[in-house]
Amino acid sequence: MSKIIGIDLGTTNSAVAVVDGGDPRILENVEGNRTTPSIVAISKANERIAGLLAKNQAVTNPANTIFSVKRLIGRKFSDKEVQEDKKWFPFEIREAGNGGVEIQMGDNWHKPEEISAMILAKIKTDAEAKLGMKVEEAVITVPAYFDDSQRQATKNAGEIAGLKVRRIINEPTAAALAYGLNKKANEKIVVYDFGGGTFDVSVLEVGDDVVEVKATGGDTHLGGDDFDKRINEYLVAEYKKQEGIDLSGDKLALQRLKEAAERAKHELSSSSETEINIPYISAGESGPKHFLMKLSRAKFEELIASDIKRSIDITEQVIQDAGFSKGDINEIVMVGGQTRTPAIFNAVKEYFGKEPHRGINPDEVVAIGAAIQGGILMGDVKDVLLLDVTPLSLGIETMGGISTKLIEKNTTIPTDKSQIFSTASDNQTQVEIHVLQGEREMAADNKTLGRFILDGIAPASRGMPQIEVKFDLDANGILSVSAKDKASGKEQSIKIEASTSMDKAEVERLKQEAAAHAEEDKKKRELIEAKNMADGLVYTAKKAVSDAGDKLDSALKASVEEKIKAVEALADKSDLDAIKKASEELSAETAKIGPAMQSAKADNDQEPSTNNQEEENKEGDSNSEESKGEERGKQG
């Protein structure tokens, strides 16, 4: 089945997202960017181009480069807004036969929806390339203040682009959806959207899963671009004061200044002062001139204070229009890149006396919300399939009473895990599988779900038998545990019905208990693991000594035996550091046996059994490593 994409068709930039595997994500365009400029052009080579390419040639081809078409879509030519915008558009617009607007691009006149369709077509093609599949359906967002005609025209634009528009939704609603606020019945939400070129504020009310727009307002010509402009003007004025040079006529200098101002704005979001450093900004009579100035956050905030105040005044008015007071508002959602500016965030926070939502990238939150709406429309099947997670970890008891987890808590089920364990003593013919549930490190502190014995293991040295323990947790929380001796093929299993059916309070209690004991449990576990390790080393060392027999140098033999005693003496103590130290010493001493035997071999080439010796030593080493995961066994 094809996916339904969510498109935020913006005035300056657009973004597209899709729900994949239950989570929404932004789709990058072919240029590798997460947003696409909402610009279309007929290039000088007479090709139709959209997005970044259209933007790149805008300066040289202004009459045929169409931007901000969202300001025209679905409007009448006689509308006040259209007449206002007409004054500054570098391209030609005229009245259409039906009273709407027509835009000249190349030799043809286009309706605004045709221009929007060209942007949507690029978005569609890029999304298809990214997803590797055809995209036929979309959810498109529009400002909450769009009237029927503007909505219909946007929908038509989608259809012209070859998209079945499943739904047109409001931008603030999409933002609320992205934060999951549609589920909060009877809440009042303010969506504060400060973009690059426009400012919108909406008041929403959530009723039984329906989001209603109670009031909207804003300023279609107030945005972050104004901030950049203000920083720019300030810097130019300051430079003139300090250096006596007017940069306002130098296009290249202004361009470099603009980029530096934008960077400064971003930097001031996180630091309180930034340095604007532009070497060789102009060439004076006395040589090159540089631009070096510090800009503090306080100064920046002073520059934009009136814009911020204006946005708060508008917000206040819109809340009033909705018939509420600011105390009625339950949630505030921040949209648009400029809301990253701390001064804006703080002004909104201070006004409402509440923390606004801002976890999702404010440039992408509307597209994310649109994708979620698409996911809801697409996902009838998925709704049925609610996957559960196992609330507590599942495992078995291993050597020294440790609880070894096979399935960690919060694993999505169904799932299965298996691990190889071994025996703890020589010639052990059976092991007990003790199935545990819980987060504690020690088996005794966890809940026993069941236990069974696997017998008939062929007698062998400890650590040699391979016993595969498999946990299979099905979608209903039924746990099957099996243990299989790989050598004999013997298998035993148990089925435990109620592994997940525990009430929430119980699960919570167990989790808290585990957290409370985490530190001491960890210490206990470390100690036992060290003891297991020491035990394994003693075993290996004794084996090496006895295998070497009287060929071993008596001094080395005595020293190894001494170290063995030292470790064994600590077996009942709980001094972790002492055990670790004694173990290390024993390990180092045991390691000398191999080389000693080898040099003995070199001394006497006639000795036939040395080769065997070496191999057995190697086995001994791997044995001690494996002993960490050894199954606590009961001797038969």
Binding site: D20, V59, T60, G287
Partner: protein, 147 residues
């Protein structure tokens, strides 16, 4: 009666279909996710340094300004060498300069027009760059009809 029976028989079948479809979809989702994850990791590896390199472009620009404004040949040579050190370092991370010279035809997929009319490049205002094949900054150019 018969009709009812067949209805009853159909129901579990339809349900089984639905489950199978859901299962297939889940499997497919996982497979696709894995493929995408590989691609994503690949692009993360390639472009992790993109923002750092983008900032370094400003430094490269400044070197160019220094070179064009400097009159002292000795200093000029030193600066040129430092610049090429930086360029080499960035090249090793996958940065590639866009080859463009005055007289070339304007191409919006590689160049950004700063001013002027026409489709001939008169002057390169600042160099453009690609990082591992992705355009991270178009070459800024001044345009005209003829040189």
């Amino acid at each position: 009666m018969k009709e009812k029976d067949s209805d009853k028989e159909k129901k579990p079948e339809a349900q089984a279909e639905e489950y199978l479809a859901g299962w297939k979809r889940a499997k497919a989702d996982l497979e696709n996710y894995k493929k995408e994850e590989t691609q994503r990791l690949d692009s993360v590896r390639k472009f992790a340094c993109e923002s750092l390199i983008s900032e370094m472009l400003t430094v490269l620009d400044s070197f160019n300004f220094a070179l064009t404004s400097s009159k002292d040949e000795d200093t000029k040579k030193g600066v040129l060498m430092i610049k090429s050190q930086l360029e080499e370092a960035l090249k090793r991370s996958g940065l590639e300069k866009i080859e463009v010279k005055a007289g070339d035809k304007f191409d919006e997929s590689l160049h950004e027009a700063m001013e002027g009319d026409g489709d001939k490049i008169l002057e390169i205002v600042s160099e453009g760059y690609k990082l591992n094949g992705k355009l991270i900054r178009a070459a800024r150019v001044r345009l005209g009809d003829s040189l």
